[in-house]
């Protein structure tokens, strides 16, 4: 059993490495284009309202706390508290997705969605329209993939809840909760990178009209 736990943990860490490479490819594209169009990117980032993103960051960080507590109580064998914190983590995850949905809707209204045949405008500086398209393409790819991982995370939380409830998870065998925790923390960390790269790059620059 211990060998199985060790193997499972190694497996999850290895999987997380693949996820780093996966997001890494998109971040490389971001790096290149930000280098090409620094001003356009800064302006496009400035146009994204910071509050929903900031709230989401707090939500996710707090959810990592609840997740860590869930793992702790699984370790100590407290079924009730484990389930409580899994539920709290899930609620926070769902809240994150809800705020994200609101943000996407806002983008739709403001004509910042660079595809689907939708109109795209960048009134802050029309000459930056193409570069802004690229910025928003990266925004949607990065946050969209991240949201997809969150949804999968909620699925994993549900699965863990069921296993704790039906007694599969015990004080001796809590590795699945630990592994689920690893995944959740990873999704959180990806957001910690995305938030400044997407929301914060234009803040310090004083924009003229």
């Amino acid at each position: 059993m211990e060998q199985q736990t060790e193997a499972s943990l190694l497996g999850m860490w290895t999987f997380l490495v693949t996820e780093i490479l996966f997001f890494g490819g998109a971040l490389t594209a971001y790096l290149v284009y930000r280098n090409w169009y620094p001003d356009a990117f800064a302006l496009a980032s400035y146009e994204i309202p910071i509050m929903p993103g900031a709230i989401n960051t707090a939500v996710l960080i707090f959810s990592s706390l609840t997740m860590a507590l869930a793992v702790h109580f699984a370790q100590t064998g407290d079924r009730g508290k484990t389930m409580l914190f899994i539920v709290l983590t899930s609620i926070l995850g769902a809240a994150f997705l809800g705020i994200k949905a609101y943000e996407y809707h806002e983008k739709y209204v403001e004509h910042f969605i660079p595809g689907f045949g939708l109109p795209f405008e960048f009134p802050a500086n029309p000459e930056y329209t193409n570069a802004a398209r690229i910025f928003y393409s990266l925004y949607f790819v990065l946050t969209g993939l991240h949201a997809l991982h969150m949804i999968i995370g909620l699925g994993i939380m549900t699965w863990m809840f069921i296993w704790v409830k039906n007694g599969t998870i015990t004080q001796e065998y809590y590795a699945p909760v630990e592994i689920a925790g690893l995944y959740w923390h990873f999704v959180d960390i990806v957001w910690i990178f995305l938030f400044p790269l997407l929301y914060l790059i234009g803040r310090h620059v004083h924009h003229v009209g």
Binding site: Y37, D39, E127, Y128
Partner: protein, 339 residues
């Protein structure tokens, strides 16, 4: 091209072809020697040590440090030697001489358009003289292509949205293959033609024959006026834009603090995305001409700017027939071949 026995080796028709062939033949020799050596060792050992007794086993040998070092280090040095040799050839291929005869190339699905500086336009064929370095400055109107002259041993990708270049100096008159060497869709294998190398006198004759359309630079001058560039870019530094006289090839300071050299790529960017590299001391008020000028139009404007020198008055000569005009997506079909 000769008919009869099919060729097994391409004719060498440029100054660098011999160096490329030399390296190639060395590597062919190395490959043949090493392959024959290894394969015959394997066969030899199979024969010499063939198992006779079904229960016999081989000698107990783990390995040998001396051998391991030898056959790691020696191949490494051979490889590094080849690397140095090949890189020197590459530097020669990648760095054109200071004085080149420039020809602009626009590739598009599925044809090649060549624009000589003095106005000659060719499609799927290009005439060049023997003994003069020729540089091709290229862009694509759609997808990535690649211009390949096997007899010059040179090729380069032709990329939309930017300029790439290749150069060669032809050494032998004749007609040689020209291929597209980057898969570009349906008629990729049809995007072929020939490069016609002529002795200098014949080349001169060819240049002066045919329809006179005016030089590329003069066509650019006309476009410069039609698009009203001259209202901001004045030779007397009174305009809202930088003076363009004598600008080509110089270094300029940008608003961002960095310095750039004024080359073809910079000029193209300044026409199509003017706010990306604004000259220091100027406002970012130049409008973009993206969509208003074709690739050939941009090339003609670049040639015009290159031609602006304060010691010769600016001329925008009207050509006899229409040159590349604004809003033209594809040029008028030029008369095909010239002899």
């Amino acid at each position: 091209m000769r008919s009869g026995t099919p060729p097994l080796f391409p004719e060498a028709a440029s100054t660098l072809a011999g160096r490329v062939d030399g390296l190639y033949l060395f590597l062919v020799g190395l490959t043949a020697v090493m392959t024959i050596f290894i394969f015959s060792m394997v066969i030899f050992f199979m024969i010499k040590y063939k198992r006779r007794d079904p229960n016999s086993i081989g000698a107990r040998i783990h390995g040998g440090m001396a051998l391991e070092i030898a056959w790691s280090v020696i191949p490494l040095f051979i490889c590094l030697g080849i690397f140095v040799w090949a890189t020197n050839i590459f530097f020669a291929i990648a760095r054109p001489p200071a004085e080149t005869m420039n020809i602009y190339v626009v590739g598009k699905q599925w044809m090649w358009k060549f624009q000589h500086l003095d106005g000659q336009r060719e499609i799927n064929e290009v005439h060049v003289p023997v003994g003069r370095p020729v540089k091709m400055i290229m862009t694509s109107e759609d997808v990535i292509h690649d211009l390949f002259f096997p007899n010059f041993r040179v090729k380069a990708d032709v990329v939309p949205g930017r300029y790439t270049s290749l150069w060669f100096e032809a050494t032998k008159a004749g007609e040689y293959h020209m291929f597209c060497a980057e898969y570009c869709g349906t008629q990729h294998s049809g995007m072929v033609g020939k490069v016609i190398v002529m002795e200098p006198d014949d080349y001169q004759a060819w240049l002066s024959g045919g329809l006179q359309e005016g030089s590329l630079a003069s066509a650019g001058g006309k476009l410069f006026q039609d698009l009203a560039c001259n209202t901001c870019h004045r030779p007397d530094a009174q305009g809202r834009g930088p003076v363009l006289q004598n600008l080509y090839g110089k270094q300029v300071s940008l608003q961002s603090g960095e310095n750039v050299v004024v080359d073809e790529a910079y000029l193209r960017e300044s026409i199509l995305m003017p706010s990306s590299k604004v000259t220091a001391g100027f406002q970012p008020v130049m409008p973009t001409f993206q969509g208003l000028v074709s690739e050939e139009g941009v090339l003609s404007l670049i040639e015009y700017v290159k031609s602006l020198k304060t010691d010769s008055p600016v001329q925008a000569v009207r050509p006899n027939t229409g040159g590349p005009a604004a809003n033209e997506a594809t040029p008028a079909q030029a008369p095909p071949t010239r002899n």
